[in-house]
Amino acid sequence: MLNIYDGALDVPKILKDWYKEESTSNYGAYIPFVGTVRDENGIDGLSFDIYEPILENWFNVWQAKAKAKGAIIKMAHARGDVLLHESSYISCVFSPKRRVALEFIDEFVEDFKASAPIWKYDLINGKRVYALDRSTAIKGSGILGVK
């Protein structure tokens, strides 16, 4: 399950809904990761652009990897502005046993940071400033620049 929301995520509701959805699915472990916007570098918040077609493809590949381990993943991300101390990202893994979920959430979130087609901007004095220095070029980048 992949959900995109306009603005900040309602963390208690999303975590509760996910719990309810799987409460009788016989998973022994539910490991969520909640990303929160921190007050740092004088920003008023963050803002996000998302390209959904490739994000969905990317997510489906990870869902298939989870399924192969008897697990499932869920993910929610904000589009647009998210202010300080609000949440922009939640993901989780449900698995029969804890070890799979603990390892999987780490691999999944790392690849999310490196590959998911989402662009982050700092909100500074009402303007969006692209966070290039904290961004990662997707694998294979630069081929159109080769002469």
Binding site: I54, S88, P117, W119, K120, K139, S141, I143, L144
Partner: protein
């Protein structure tokens, strides 16, 4: 006709151009000065699948997307 879309922070309107492969696209974009930085750090997708080689023929109606460095979360 091939549609080329520039995603995220690349502030450029989509192009509709007549090309038959990605090498032709590279040549066209390399002649646009404001694209220089983006060409070096962006990934390329054809019909929403990221490609890692320019050795690819295109057909009428294909969609190309340029994806600059990402940072979700």
């Amino acid at each position: 006709m091939i549609r080329v879309e520039f995603l995220g922070p690349i502030q450029k309107n989509a192009l509709e151009i007549e090309i038959t492969n990605l090498k032709e696209l590279a040549k066209i974009l390399q002649e646009i000065p404001e694209m220089t930085e983006w060409l070096e750090n962006s990934a390329v997708a054809v019909n929403d699948t990221i490609v890692i080689s320019l050795d690819m023929e295109l057909k009428n109606g294909d969609k190309i997307s340029m994806l600059p460095p990402v940072c979700g979360g």
